[in-house]
């Protein structure tokens, strides 16, 4: 199997040379990890290339999904783009600023939401956390009031402002965190797993808000996620990283083609039947009256459901999206 995988799907808006709002050129991050070697006492130094030569451009106002399995280098990339980590090699620019050298100047231009680490004040009303942001970022009063009012309206925070954060649900807290990251009018918003752990309704609310934000304010959004639905509903463009390398950069539909990923239709029939036969559909598993049908993720589920319903007594059905790990595994398999 080839180790070096070229980036495919070059049709994306911001890719290729030329100026971008976010510019990443051959960026590397090498960690040296010590671990116990053969002899118990000596620790051997061991190099881990968390990010191994990544290049991409993101245009102003783009909304890009950044996906990959755990430990692929997603977080490390985000940490370099926010100035938390210094790259070991390559060149990075966000809004013309070198993040590692001018972390403080950059912080006024970016908003960051770490999905699992809230920056809100646990024991204080939500409003107090926003006041701190107001003063910490020295946001002009009028601007602050305007931005807060907009976030409160769009994120439906009105009744939560005077509630201590510890009493908020996970979804309410996430909305609160997103508002906190936007009060200083950032040009770029980084979201690390913004929908993780949220229920279906909360997920939908967060997605809707991000879509509006991007459309109305032209905020550039880069989000990492495990949930392909996030990408499907928000991002025209998706980048896939694995083992520190960019595996794919382009449209989501293209990713499904490259990855030959499949969605699964689970149908419950009235009684056990022989495996369903349909064009372009493969029966993966039969368990009594329940059957698992796989079909290419690029195809719509609707005609398949119609065809099944027409020919079989259908009781219940559900569609399962392919998970990112499976898509990436298939990408590898497809190239070997």
């Amino acid at each position: 199997m080839a180790v070096a995988v070229e980036v495919t799907g070059a049709d994306s808006t911001g890719a290729g040379p030329g100026p971008g709002f976010i510019e990443v050129d051959a960026v590397e991050k090498v960690f040296s990890v010590r671990r116990r070697g053969a002899s118990r006492l000596r620790r051997e130094k061991h190099e881990v290339r968390a990010v191994d030569g990544i290049s991409f451009r993101v245009a102003r106002g783009e909304m890009v999904g950044y996906i990959g399995p755990n430990g692929a280098g997603k977080s490390t990339t985000i940490k370099m783009l926010t100035g938390i980590l210094t790259p070991s090699g390559g060149r990075l620019r966000v809004a013309g600023i070198d993040p590692a050298r001018e972390r403080t100047r950059l912080s006024y231009r970016i908003g960051v939401v770490f999905g699992q680490r809230t920056t809100l004040w646990w024991d204080l009303p939500l409003r107090d956390s926003y006041r701190l942001v107001h003063r910490m970022y020295r946001i002009p009063d009028a601007r602050y009031r305007e931005n807060l009012a907009r976030c409160v309206e769009l994120l439906d925070l009105g009744e939560l402002l005077d509630v201590p954060v510890r009493q908020l649900s996970l979804g309410q807290r996430m909305r609160g965190d997103i508002a906190a990251a936007l009060l200083h009018d950032p040009d770029v918003l980084y979201l690390d797993e913004p929908t993780i752990g949220l229920d279906v309704v909360s997920k939908a609310e967060v997605r809707e808000f991000l879509r509006d934000l991007n459309a109305e304010r032209g905020t550039t959004v880069l989000l990492t996620t495990h949930d392909l639905t996030d990408i499907e509903q928000l991002c025209k463009r998706v980048m896939v990283i694995d083992h520190g390398r960019l595996m794919y950069d382009g449209e989501l539909a293209g990713l499904h083609e490259v990855g030959r990923s499949e969605r699964t239709l689970v149908v419950d029939l009235e009684r056990a039947a022989a495996p369903i036969e349909l064009e372009g559909v493969r029966v993966v598993k039969v368990e009594g009256p329940r059957q698992w049908l796989a079909f290419p993720a690029s195809r719509s589920a609707a005609p398949i459901v119609t065809a099944v319903a027409a020919a079989y007594p259908l009781v219940d059905l559900s569609v399962r999206e392919p998970d990112i790990e499976a898509v990436i595994a298939k990408m590898y398999a497809g190239r070997s």
Partner: protein, 281 residues
């Protein structure tokens, strides 16, 4: 570096921004604490009482002996009061920097690095606890007792020595706290080592140097310069000779030592933060 603030102008800006941010965050913590008023009152008293037991221990010893290492009770109260007040102030103002290692481990340090204010200010203000005033009061109380009871031949220089010792001492402890925190960028579980020097050091200083081995006294003079917090200035005030055969003029050095320590601690912090940003954790 890091924030792009280099040169004297950048430093001054950073210092001002740091102090301002520190104030903002401290206010947030005070308001958080005040949501549990009863608990606050109890923990403040608890803090006062717990530290007071240190002095009770000394009182109990004096129930059985006239002197400890050649020192009378009021003399030891002076040592205790100076060290206790200095340490109490530092513990109040940045006692939570030893939580840095935990922040590195659980990744919450990253949330501090994306804000437009110095990281040290944010870490120093973290979990600011007003209840630690209890320790300061207790130190001042013992210091007051010593000053009332002691029969000292006061001179202007000796009077000046006391506030100077408290402020310099607090700065020296602050430097130890920050250096320890900087070390936690590399070794995240070093909080206990740090506590050995801070809490352990302050307990050491409550006793006269004569009861310790010469090597230890020299160690806390030249290596981790805790002797400048109270021993050297207090012995001058008491008209005693400097410990372990050290020259007497060292008694005037605490402010100089404090400035040096703070400078070194600042350097250690920058090195630590830079190493974190290049290695992750």
């Amino acid at each position: 570096m890091g924030s792009g603030a280099t040169g004297p102008v950048g430093r001054v800006w950073q210092l001002r921004a740091g102090v301002r941010a520190y104030g903002l965050i401290v206010m947030m913590w005070i308001r958080s604490t005040m949501t549990y008023r009863a608990s606050f009152a109890m923990t403040t008293f608890g803090n006062f009482a717990a530290t007071a037991f240190d002095f009770v221990t000394i009182l109990l010893m004096f129930a059985h002996t006239e002197a400890l290492g050649g020192y009378s009770l009021p003399e030891i109260a002076l040592l205790y009061g100076l060290a206790g007040t200095a340490f109490g102030l530092t513990d109040l103002l940045l006692g939570s920097v030893d939580r840095l290692g935990r922040r590195v481990r659980d990744g919450t340090l990253d949330t501090l690095l994306v804000r437009p204010v110095p990281v040290l200010a944010q870490v120093a203000a973290d979990r600011f606890a007003l209840r630690r005033l209890g320790r300061v009061f207790q130190g001042l109380l013992v210091l007051g007792y010593a000053l009332v009871v002691l029969d000292v031949d006061w001179s202007p220089l000796k009077v000046l020595m006391l506030p100077l010792a408290v402020v310099s001492g607090a700065a020296i402890f602050a430097a130890v706290f920050v250096t320890g925190a900087a070390f936690q960028f590399v070794a995240q579980d070093a909080a206990e080592v740090q506590n050995g020097f801070t809490y352990g050091g302050s307990t050491l200083l409550q006793y006269p140097p004569t009861i310790f081995a010469k090597e230890l006294v020299r160690g806390v003079t030249f290596v981790v310069p805790l002797a400048f917090v109270n021993w050297l200035p207090a012995l001058y005030v008491l008209g005693r000779e400097a410990p372990a055969g050290l020259p007497g003029w060292l008694a005037f050095l605490p402010p100089v030592v404090a400035v040096g320590c703070v400078g070194l601690a600042g350097l250690a912090w920058r090195v630590g933060l830079r190493s974190y940003r290049s290695t992750g954790s």
